[in-house]
Symmetry: C2
Subunit: 413 residues, 2 copies
């Protein structure tokens, strides 16, 4: 590998800013939800850039985009990178987009240096990572990994009342390639951290060794609606008071466990939700995450036990179901080592870390060796128009990605 093989920080930044113009919001963020017209425009811009860079572009039946830079041995499975171009409704300019455009920057940099790799390099855009307009989230990579079948995705209904199949057709991204048919040697996804750790630790590169497991406990409490003025407090079955006690208690359980535990009650709905009525029904969702399966199981059990006790105390019926239950995942050791070596060689302060969020790489890892490279984002803020990262950190991540992909592409098959 030549010493001159580097990335162009300004070009990468400019591409991010150009993409950020599509679906731009007043607060500096983007709304480019999956398979919307804005998503189509973002895809078109990316495909144009890839063709200009000499790539061959293929689309699969899930709308995933594969931009291939050919190598010396094109029969070899590609060394792949990428992420997603879709955003939250009030999303930022970096979540997902960075991973795609870092991949493009790798291709452009290889072109600049006139380097030909042994294996081809694919830059992939996965469809609907965010899951805003339709389910499932991480849709394109789920189909690629065989976790979701293509018919289920095609039949999925969007919030606009269309189906995914209709939307893929109407934006021109229903491709002929079988989703999951493509052979890859490995997949490395670059991403902003979406958390505060790298910034706090003063590191430039996060080497993601694991993605924590995630479990959702969906709790429904049924008490009895009652008049706020006439019903003595000791004769109530107040579902919200029960929920409040549960939320306090399960948070205490989670905090007592260890610093890696994440418990979030982010959604809570009250019925009838009227100021003068004791609420007879409350629904809330517990998002529980931990890197160890055994700990997830133990916390789940403790939380359920505590919530059932509180339900009894308050005279409430309780039902709990678990619509999401994803086991923790370890990324591929050989890729992690390659990334660490690249970051060390380039002199970027780095650390091994856990991903708190789910990512497409988590799905792809079920098919091929995968890993992730994180770069810092300001104040750990993401899923927010205020999402921000520095051009230097973004370039460092792309540079680390470049060396990682080249090393992987040039190893003996």
């Amino acid at each position: 590998m030549t010493a001159e093989l580097t990335v162009n920080q300004d070009r990468l930044w400019q591409s991010l800013m150009d993409m950020g113009q599509i679906g731009a919001l007043p607060g500096g963020g983007c709304c480019r939800t999956a398979l919307s017209f804005e998503d189509k425009r973002g895809r078109d811009l990316f495909v144009g850039w890839c063709k200009d860079a000499g790539c061959t572009v293929s689309i699969d039946q899930a709308g995933n985009i594969y931009a291939r830079r050919r190598g010396r041995k094109n029969s070899r499975p590609a060394v792949a990178t990428g992420s997603h171009l879709d955003t939250q409704p009030h999303g930022g300019k970096f979540d997902g987009i960075y991973g795609v455009l870092a991949g493009l920057e790798v291709v452009r940099s290889l072109n600049d240096a006139g380097v030909e790799t042994a294996a081809p390099i694919d830059v992939i855009v996965w469809t609907n990572e965010e899951g805003v307009r339709f389910s499932p989230p991480l849709a394109g990579s789920s189909v690629f990994a065989g976790i979701c079948d293509i018919e289920t995705l095609h039949d999925s209904e969007t919030t606009d009342g269309t189906t995914v199949l209709q939307d893929l057709q109407s934006i021109g991204y229903l491709g002929p390639e079988q989703a999951g048919g493509r052979k890859l040697q490995c997949f490395v996804e670059a991403h902003i951290e979406q958390g505060p750790i790298l910034e706090a630790e003063g590191k430039t590169i996060g080497i993601v060794t694991r993605i924590q497991g995630i479990r959702w406990l969906r709790v429904t409490l049924t008490g009895q609606d009652a008049h706020a003025g006439t019903t003595p407090m000791n004769r109530r079955k107040d579902a919200l008071l029960g929920a409040a006690n549960m939320i306090s208690e399960i948070n205490a359980i989670a905090i007592a466990e260890d610093q890696e535990t994440r418990l979030t009650v982010g959604r809570l709905d009250v019925e009838p939700n009227s100021g003068a009525t004791v609420p007879g029904r409350v629904f809330f969702n517990c998002d529980l995450r931990h890197p160890e399966s055994a700990t997830l199981n133990r916390l789940d059990e403790k939380m359920e036990h505590a919530m059932r006790n509180i339900a009894d105390t308050f005279g409430l019926q309780i039902t709990i179901d678990r619509p999401i239950n994803v086991a923790p995942l370890e990324f591929a050791k050989e890729l992690i080592d390659t990334i660490r070596e690249a970051a060390d060689t380039l002199g970027y302060a780095n650390m091994d870390m856990l991903s708190g969020a789910g990512h497409d790489a988590m799905n792809v890892a079920h098919r091929v060796p995968s890993a992730m490279i994180f770069v810092p984002c300001k104040d750990g803020i993401s899923h927010n128009e205020a999402e921000s990262a520095t051009p230097a950190d973004l370039a460092a991540g792309a540079h680390t990605l470049l060396r990682t992909l080249v090393a992987q592409a040039d190893i003996a098959p």
Copy 2:
């Protein structure tokens, strides 16, 4: 007063059942929201019954209906009774309607017995007690009492986008009489208890001596939206976790005070209310009631202090405002004594009690001596299709009302 002067239990029950057919719901309840077409049909039915009973019917500018049974001295202010015909969207057949039709039963019974009272007797239907389609609730009696001016009511917008003035005109209940212009000697409102106390105590008649004070504390907490997977629990500003702790704590404060205290958090809204996002904003409403002003003030202060402390602990900004602050009210002693004497004479087990709910009589009491008669309702359930009361209890209340009104009408002016 003759020993034969009694009410007709079957007729009263049949009138309640007939009125319950208008806006009838599948579960046995009614939807007859104020100034709706169903409300018009209910009003028309009542007016027809009153005219059949020989009453003179007047309508005021607030749509309040006054059905007058003439007395020997018609220059005297009327002895008045009544309540409301409008319902909650999923209301019952008794809340409000009973007080109106008990008044009609008094008129019919006096007719049957050929009794002429000294003062005239008015049966009044107050407009929009429930406040479902427009504000304020207790609208007709508020205007009558001078608490709300007629222009404000007329300009009030309904949930259907019309104004109250338009609705009054379109259903034919915009009357010429000045709202509040009518002189009354007193006002006695019969009502189902809407609580469980009479049933639990085995009493037939509740003599309402007081209506408790009510105060709403509207609390808004602002923290910071954050990613559920990436944000360590000790770096969060979780508005819902703060709210949960506050709800537990202020309930403990209320329960520790005394058995008369009622605290209800009935409404709570979370933003962005997404399973995987730490909630950055929560709004909730505290409905605090107590018969003593000093206790209300002390509880309010304790609750605010506790909530501000918890907000500090969780790094949340807190704002509290008080959109409702109604002082406790004592009903007129001479009326209370008259009701008690009537119930005792008739042999109905009775008790003095507090009203936990607000009622039109609470407003009318600002203008003329007022009181209320409660009868039991099944399991204390109200604002619910399942609302239920027995024909015998309803007749007992009407009989007590009859004797109370006659006694008041025949005292020296």
